[in-house]
């Protein structure tokens, strides 16, 4: 992710040489100290340190990449903060670094900013910083992940209005601009616009103390924080990709909080379940026979036993789904419920299609990603087995993220044949527009096909607000099930947060993306 | 055929090596079998005794039993091995090791595998001095060079730094002999010392052994299957068959008038003992499996003279004259034939 100016890190070569020399010199004698290890005691914590174990090391800590799961868990609301935040439970927007916002005309929003806030490096937070942060995320060369994620191609113009106010102008009217802005983390205007920063500065309750590559990230409390001081003076992140090891670390008192545990390892003492807003579904490629026949697609939907999959494979940590968004997201249709499987009817549909010359025996690739969610390969096997009972020829293909993305995103790979892609969609924004534009539009980036009728409904719904917006998107989801059937929904998932008995913390639907350390308190008996 | 006269040395009353009723058992998949069955012989200093027999008759196993080098699957079942009057079988391991080299030594066949391929010959030849005399590496090396000169290795100082594979077969056998006689043992067992060598080299090696025997006044047990070597180099002979000694005596007497049909058969198979134009005879058949040793005479299956008695009763090794003995019911009949 380099800017076009090619050599951005001009110290690379001498450092590499020095490292090589050091390596040669050290290897034989340093057999008792791992490189990068520090000496902060056996569990690496110490009194007053909150220890969190993630599933993987964050690739960067740049706040503009905070929509990456591992990065967000560390950065969001801990190191840097957005102007506005969305309450994950109520779905309402709450003030943070902006105290107030309103629409001054259809394309312009004005935000009043909080005063008396300083960055970790002592600089005061001003409107210039806020404008800079938006500009950096959307316009700079840093290739910010958040840019495409929430702004797509939206044109923005940001102006400061004194030190404590900001106006944002969009080319088209944008009713959910404040929601979009809630994804932008504020950084000081001195932050690089050429490259991502490794140790970002923010206004959050914690500041980065030390990032030992491959080993840990240590945070310390920001004592000049504008809000309530967090309970723990220090925090330390480590990462283990094996869920059982993460669970073992909670059990063994080596960590207080852990990302995603597996149901098998979870006990009441070491974990707590929470709805993580993720929904699993099977996306059927409606452009390829036999999946181009709606009877075949609907038959698949009828034969899949969502209830059993949710109960057995997801260990009850899921609810059968009938749409892509869970309750709490604008557009969720409470009337859509997963029906129990109906093998006979499904079989009849497929037979019908076969009679009409649909090549139902053609091989369908069922593609899933390793590590997508716990027991993903078992889930794929269950789906394959259930689809095979219909007489469909289904072959499982497990992939890694990169290969899965090839199938997930337009342009789709050529010559792949009919594909049933196991997807997991998490709508972090709380609004059905994000889901529908991605997954349901005929030319949506993650949609294989659609209908003109549905496209129109989606466009119309996007311009509405309030209850009408809710009803319109709910109708869109119902229409997908009745008229399009691109998706066979599996379940609304719940995550498992590893939590030791030493801390108090209630996860919410945003916990997977942002883990607010300031909300973590020691349990009544003081943590050891 | 010249036979050296067994010159009894002054201390001759006491044999240097005396083996009495030695039996060795082998543990096999199908049970324990007796590979060496109650054999006895004695050698005095300066005298060479040949243990003669086909391969598999137990002669090498006898040598290993005497030297205390049996593999774990074999064990001495009974008997005594007296070296200078002491029964070494009753000695502890450490005491026995103290004798190995200065008192009792052994030369193996196939010198290529008997020499350690990854050590210089100098180090290997010096080892006995380091073990038994506690010499330093350097002094042991000096001794090794001296030994190499004694056994006729040219340029010994330079070649002491060489490895076994850099020597010819004859030279390697010389090295092995040098190693065995390094500490001037009283008893030297030579196990087929010339088998792997060509004829001219064989003669040189045998001569070297004879010279060293004279020099150190050693008792030599020469294990061989080669009648010619026995005839030329040994004073006494013990003929072995299927784990037993079937005949003993001075070489010239035994060869002149064998007292056992097996000895007779062996001698008849040698070309020089056969008239021109006559077919070479060999002993028909093969020795019995050790698991299937018959109840009576061990040789009965191949014996031209076998009778009913042979199947029932095993002949004991009975004296026939002052220095001879044979294990045949009909040895007198054979001698008179």
């Amino acid at each position: 992710m380099q800017p076009p100016a090619r050599p951005p890190l001009r110290g690379g070569r001498p450092r590499a040489l020095a490292a090589a020399a050091a390596l040669v010199a050290l290897t034989p004698i340093s057999a008792c100290a791992v490189a990068n290890s520090d000496d902060t005691g056996t569990t690496g914590g110490g009194e007053g340190t909150l220890r969190i174990v993630l599933a993987q090391e964050p690739p960067t800590l740049d706040p503009c990449d905070a929509s990456l799961t591992a990065t967000g868990a560390v950065v969001r609301s801990n190191i840097s903060e957005p102007l506005i935040e969305r309450d994950p439970t109520s779905g309402e927007l709450e003030p943070l670094l902006a105290t107030e916002w309103h629409r001054t005309d259809p394309t312009t929003w004005r935000l009043d900013l909080r005063s008396g806030v300083t960055f970790h490096d002592g600089q005061p937070f001003t409107a210039e910083d806020a404008a800079f942060s938006i500009d950096r995320a959307v316009h700079s060369d840093v290739a910010c992940n958040v840019d495409g994620y929430v702004f797509g191609g939206t044109e923005l113009d940001v102006q400061t209005d004194g030190a404590a106010a900001l106006t944002v102008t969009t080319a088209e009217p944008d009713p959910v601009l404040p929601l979009r802005l809630s994804f932008i983390e504020v950084v000081p205007r001195t932050t690089s616009t050429d490259a991502k920063v490794r140790t970002p500065v923010g206004t959050g309750p914690y500041a980065i103390d030390k990032w030992e590559t491959g080993v840990s990230i240590a945070l310390r409390r920001n004592d000049s924080y504008w809000g309530d001081a967090p309970a723990y003076p220090r925090a330390r992140y480590v990462w283990r990709s094996e869920p059982s090891v993460r669970a073992a670390m909670i059990d063994n008192g080596e960590a207080e909080l852990s990302a995603a545990l597996n149901p098998e390892d979870a006990t009441e003492d070491n974990s707590v379940a929470y709805p993580n807003n993720e929904t699993t579904a099977l996306r059927l490629d409606g452009t390829q026979p036999p999946l181009d026949d709606i009877r075949v697609r609907k038959a698949i939907g009828m034969v899949i036993d969502q209830g059993a999959i949710a109960d057995v494979l997801f260990a009850g940590l899921a609810d059968p789904a009938a749409q892509l968004v869970p309750d709490g997201v604008v557009g969720h249709n409470a009337d859509l419920r997963a029906a129990p499987p109906d093998f006979t009817a499904a079989r009849a549909l497929v037979a019908d299609a076969a009679d009409d010359g649909v090549p139902t025996g053609k091989r369908i690739s069922l593609i899933a990603r390793n590590g997508q969610f716990p027991r993903v390969s078992e889930t794929a096997e269950a789906l394959q087995y259930q689809m095979a009972r219909l007489g469909l020829n289904v072959r499982i293909q497990m992939t890694d993220s990169a290969a899965h993305l090839e199938y997930q995103l337009r342009p789709f790979p050529k010559g792949a044949g009919p594909v049933a892609l196991l997807i997991m969609h998490g709508n972090q924004t709380g609004d059905g527009a994000f889901t529908t534009s991605q997954y349901l539009l005929s030319d949506g980036p993650q949609s294989t096909f659609g209908t003109a009728a549905l496209d129109e409904r989606i466009a119309a719904a996007g311009a509405l607000s309030g209850d009408r917006r809710q009803d319109a998107f709910a109708a869109v989801f119902a229409a997908q099930n009745d008229d399009v059937a691109q998706y066979v929904h599996l379940a609304h998932m719940r995550g498992l947060l590893g939590r030791s008995a030493d801390v108090r913390y209630e996860p919410n639907s945003a916990t997977g993306d942002e883990l607010r350390l300031a909300d973590v308190r020691p349990a009544h008996r003081k943590g050891s | 055929m010249t036979v050296p006269t067994p010159a009894a040395p002054p201390s001759g009353a006491e044999p240097a090596l005396e083996v009495e009723n030695l039996s060795v058992d082998l543990n096999t998949a199908s049970g324990t079998v007796r590979a060496v069955d109650g054999i006895s012989f004695a050698v005095r200093k300066g005298v060479t005794l040949a243990l003669l027999g086909e391969s598999g008759c137990g002669k090498s196993m006898t040598a290993l039993a005497v030297a205390g080098l049996l593999d774990p699957v074999a064990e001495v079942a009974e008997g005594a091995v007296r070296v200078g009057g002491t029964d070494v079988l009753r000695l502890g391991r450490a005491e026995r090791k103290r004798l190995a080299g200065p008192v009792l030594s052994i030369v193996f066949q196939d010198a290529l595998t008997a020499l350690n391929p990854v050590q210089t010959v100098g180090a290997q030849l010096g080892e006995p001095f380091r073990i038994h005399q506690g010499l330093s590496r350097r002094k042991a090396r000096e001794k090794a060079v001296e030994l190499m000169r004694t056994v006729g290795i040219p340029e010994p100082r330079a070649r002491a730094r060489s490895y076994p594979h850099q020597f010819s077969g004859g030279m390697r056998q010389r090295l092995l002999i040098a190693m065995a006689v390094a500490l001037g043992p009283d008893v030297l067992i030579a196990d087929e010392p010339t088998t792997a060598l060509d004829v001219t080299v064989q003669a040189q090696i045998m001569q070297l052994l004879a010279d060293l025997q004279a020099e150190h006044d050693m008792a030599v047990v020469l294990i061989t299957h080669d009648l010619a070597v026995v005839a030329e180099r040994a004073d006494n002979v013990a003929v072995m068959y299927a784990g037993t000694v079937v005949e003993t005596g001075p070489v010239h007497e035994v060869f002149a008038a064998p007292g056992h049909p097996y000895t007779r058969g062996l001698l008849d198979s040698v070309p020089e003992n056969v008239d021109r134009g006559q077919r070479l005879r060999s002993v028909p058949g093969s020795p019995p499996e050790l698991t299937a040793i018959p109840a009576g005479c061990v040789f009965q299956a191949r014996c031209p003279m076998a009778r009913d008695r042979c199947a029932e009763e095993r002949p004991a090794l009975t004296p026939a004259g002052p220095s001879r003995a044979a294990a045949c019911h009909f040895s007198e009949e054979l001698a008179s034939a």
Partner: protein, 337 residues
């Protein structure tokens, strides 16, 4: 005078108990002129070694399962029943429920049998391919030496330097994932092992006399390698191959752990262990049973390989007899025939 006809030739080996081995199998080749008294009865030897016999039975069962499993099982290994998820091993649910069920309610017993076939169809071809290719190149390189040897060795270095997981990712995500691709990768990554072993042995043999002799008689290099180098190198290579057999199974399992091994719905023991690891605390049988299957199969293969190596090597065969060491001693001459 020359040696008697029955005597060992000049290349006779170790005079220890080996050639005198009275085991029921044919005697040592030194006694070759003798007609072999009995045909080779390897099963007797096998029966004599309880460990080897048990190992042979285990391997036989695994092979039978792999070959006949699909026929006998029908779709039992695929049949899912989410209501029967994670049943522990018990006698309550018929034969198929004997070893419990996995999370999808499939019979563990049926899956283990089904997986035996896949596991072997990955491990065996991978081992055989790498063995054949690696040994051929290695012996060729070692026999010729020089530039060809250097080139082959550097090729081996290059292969060794490639992370096998990169190859696995390429094969899985670029080409269609299949057992054949996995075999190919495992075979390629294991070639250097055989290449290096075969080269070392061939280079050593190259210098030995008999190869020189074969060469001067005008034999082509291929023929010489086949006739003179291969037979001597083979035992070592086969031993390496047996050790590799377990390595290949474990690598396949590790690749499954990283998500790049055998892909469901195909199932191998390695994949079962990898998938079952998450149930170690709640449903031990899912990961432990296939793990045990891997362990006992590879241990059996190793035992059989060690046994076969001894049994086919006359100089070593007597070792097979050791465990029966202290049997009741047979009396002299009374061992049943």
């Amino acid at each position: 005078m020359t040696a008697t006809p029955q005597d060992p030739g000049p290349t006779a080996q170790d005079p220890g108990p080996a050639p005198q081995d009275p085991g029921p199998a044919p005697q040592d080749p030194a006694a070759a002129p003798r007609p072999a008294p009995r045909p080779a009865r390897w099963w007797t030897l096998l029966g004599g070694d309880r460990f080897a016999a048990a190992a042979a039975v285990v391997l036989g069962l695994v092979l039978t399962a792999a070959l006949l499993g699909p026929v006998l099982l029908g779709d039992a290994a695929e049949r899912q029943d989410l209501r029967a998820s994670l049943r522990p091993p018990s006698l309550d649910h018929g034969v198929l429920g004997l070893l419990g069920t996995d999370v999808l309610g499939r019979s563990m017993l049926a899956r283990l049998i089904d997986a035996a076939g896949t596991t072997l169809s990955v491990a065996l071809p991978a081992v055989v391919c790498s063995l054949v290719i690696g040994s051929a190149i290695g012996m060729w390189a070692g026999y010729h030496g020089g530039l060809r040897e250097s080139a082959a060795m550097r090729v081996a270095d290059v292969i060794l330097s490639f992370p096998s997981l990169l190859l696995a990712v390429v094969a899985l995500y670029v080409f269609t994932p299949s057992v054949a691709n996995l075999v190919l990768i495992l075979a390629i990554t294991r070639i250097p092992v055989y290449l290096r072993t075969a080269r070392a042995e061939a280079a050593e043999l190259r210098s030995r006399l008999f190869v020189d002799a074969a060469r001067t008689f005008g034999a082509g290099s291929g023929a010489t390698i086949y006739r003179h180098i291969l037979p001597i190198t083979l035992p070592t290579l086969l031993t390496v191959a047996t050790v590799d057999f377990s390595f290949v199974m474990l690598t396949e399992s590790s690749l499954s752990f990283l998500g790049i091994g055998i892909q469901p719905p195909d199932v191998s023991w390695g994949l079962m262990v990898a998938q079952g690891r998450q149930y170690l605390q709640t449903a031990w049988w899912i990961a432990v049973l296939p793990g045990v299957a891997i362990v006992i199969t590879t241990v059996s293969a190793t035992i059989i390989a060690a046994w076969a190596r001894l049994a086919t090597d006359p100089a070593q065969r007597w070792r097979l007899t050791a465990p029966r060491a202290r049997r009741a001693r047979a009396n002299r001459g009374e061992t049943p025939s």
